[in-house]
């Protein structure tokens, strides 16, 4: 075990898998000499060379489409999209091609590919460097979407994603990169895709979150604990496939559920979580399934005052917890 930052864990996961399996390659904008704009791939080019760490032109559809082709012919590409906000030019390749290859070939072809993308706000990235994009992809059957919140999960889920036979969208919250540290085993391990984890056990109310919001939810839970509100915090980790058992098990126990997500509220991923809980835990609910999410403005503004207005934080989450607990 070594203490690592989130981004070190991401880097270590890639490097180890690239050493283990020469079919793993990395491609994207600035991933080579520069090591990526966040330095997630720093050192990989020096170790693995031009063939396996490919600086691409500024063309996201090409990055994803070429990765699909490479995956069809025996490679396991890890494509980096520089910011999740810039994944939209590749949307057609992801939805129409990557997600459907297995289904439309009745299992004869598959696309073992990871698309890594830094997402999320609170880093002065403004309207186009702050977005949460998970809602668009979690709606698509055939793509897995994973959002780790800890360095341990970042490495373990990334290794699992690289070894997965299906396309995996791997979303890394930019604000976690250097702000969060944790124990990470030096050796090989995986965290299975499709399993949530209870980060904080509690009995009064379930808070469901993922990515950066897990940390804010935990802070909020600490705040309200002093007031006697005992929250359980569920970290979904894998948004699709979803671990329904852990989710519903928790809500059936606590009887109350608050879904937290940073993205715009309307039609966000948390809507699906809320809908599932509302339908499948109805008999156990003693308060409305509630959501706290980003406002429905077109992306996060730059000015720090407006950014603070947009971003969730532990205080806002604590307020929502109090309101629901008091129901």
């Amino acid at each position: 075990m070594t203490v690592r930052t989130f981004i070190e864990a991401v880097r270590e996961g890639m490097a180890q898998e690239m050493r283990r399996d020469a079919s793993v390659i990395v491609l994207g904008e600035d991933v080579g000499k520069k090591g990526g704009v966040f330095l997630a791939t720093d050192g990989l080019w020096a170790e693995f060379g031009d063939d396996r760490v490919i600086d691409t032109p500024l063309t996201e559809s090409m990055i994803v489409g070429t990765s699909i082709g490479a995956a069809l012919n025996g490679l396991r590409p890890i494509a980096e999209i520089q910011f999740a906000d810039f994944i939209f030019p590749a949307f057609n390749q992801l939805v129409s091609e990557a997600a459907r290859m297995r289904y439309r070939t009745i299992g004869a072809s598959c696309v073992p590919m990871v698309v890594r993308a830094p997402y999320g706000g609170g880093v002065h990235g403004a309207m186009y460097h702050s977005q949460s994009v998970e809602a668009f992809f979690t709606h698509i059957p055939g793509i897995k979407t994973v959002v780790p919140s800890t360095p341990y999960d970042a490495k373990g889920l990334l290794v699992a994603a690289i070894r997965d036979e299906d396309p995996v969208l791997f979303l890394e919250h930019k604000k976690l990169y250097r702000s969060v540290r944790g124990d990470v085993p030096g050796g090989e391990y995986t965290v299975p895709i499709g399993r949530a984890v209870v980060r904080r056990p509690g009995r009064r109310l379930t808070v469901v979150a993922y990515g950066l919001m897990v940390h804010y939810a935990l802070e909020a839970a600490e705040k309200v604990a002093d007031e006697g509100i005992d929250c359980e915090v569920v970290d979904l980790r894998s948004l699709r496939p979803l671990d329904r058992e852990t989710l519903l098990g928790s809500v059936r126990k606590t009887g109350k559920c608050l879904v937290v997500y940073e993205d715009n509220r309307f039609g966000g991923y948390g809507a699906e979580i809320a809908a599932i809980v509302a339908e499948e835990a109805f008999d156990y609910l003693d308060g409305p399934v509630s959501r706290i999410a980003g406002p429905d403005s077109p992306a996060m503004p730059y000015n720090h005052i407006l950014e603070d207005w947009f971003m969730l934080n532990p205080a806002k989450i604590a307020d929502a917890i109090r309101k629901l607990a008091a129901y």
Binding site: S23, G65, G69, A70, L72, I106, E165
Partner: protein, 366 residues
Amino acid sequence: MTITGQEGDRKAGTLAAEYGLADADLLAMYRTMALARALDERMWLLNRSGRAPFVISGQGHEGAQVGIAWPLRRDHDWVAPFYRSIATCLVVGMTPRDVMLAQFARASDPSSGGRQMPGHYGHPGHHVVSVSSPVATQILHAVGIALASRIRGLDQVAMAIMGEGSSNQGDVHEGLNFAAIHRLPMVLVIENNGYAISVPAARELSVRDVADRASGYGIPGVVVDGTDVLACYTASREAVDRARRGEGPTLIEAKVTRLTGHSSDDQQSKYRSESELAEGLTHDPLPIFRAQLREAGVLDEAAEAAIATDVKASVEGATSFAEAAPDPEPAGAMDHVFGDPAAGEPPPPWHPTPGGASGSGGGLGA
């Protein structure tokens, strides 16, 4: 050079030799074209008799398709075709049954098990990338396949094929640029039939020849007459050889005629005049190639009749087989959304063998 043929024909072998082929190749090419056409015509009959709700066909494109696919190494090189590529798919190993099973959308349809529309061929065994409906996406799959071929030292060439209308999509620009930067073993084939459904070339393209786009990527661009099967063959052989030698991609544009409506849902008389349609018939590659082979003494009446009989039987057989084949069951409709997780077992790693191209010196950085 004159070679006396077995049937006493003075010229037999001459034409083939000019192209580095044997007469048997020419006959096989002709047979494939005739087979593609016959399958295609049968689909329309099935459509008119209410047994096939949708047809999309390659009539008029077969000459270019057969000539261009011929130089590919079967089950080794890759094709990423489009919905008109019946003849292409036959060349690289798909069978009339495969085509008809797709047409009837049966459970045993190897392309998609009846999940896709007819014409959306695919066959990983024969290295045919599954056709999807959104056009032009396949160029990037071919580029990625070529990239993997290079990195893994597999010596494969990847060929992407589409219409001229589709060549205007952004993916084509992005794919050609990347393939050219890395001199990937890739060939882009544009079957230019002058229309994207009803939109004529002058409204889809700002240049007369799609091949003119090649110079913007520093790669060769070649225009061939799609009714000249052997010219198509030659252009493709050069491009495939060049790709295999590591000299990068080529853009081949074959001028062809769409002999049918865009699909069974289209009435082309609404936007193409009678005289244009009549003129189109004179560019049918099948009679042109037939006449060329007859003239060259490769095909005599007996051989032609034998091929016709054989093709007919093959189409009959494939049709009745496919029509009788079972439909897919709803019970399996949720299969293959995701793969089965391999129970914790990591996939076996791959490492280059010492002789492979991805050892020192042979890779992308070179």
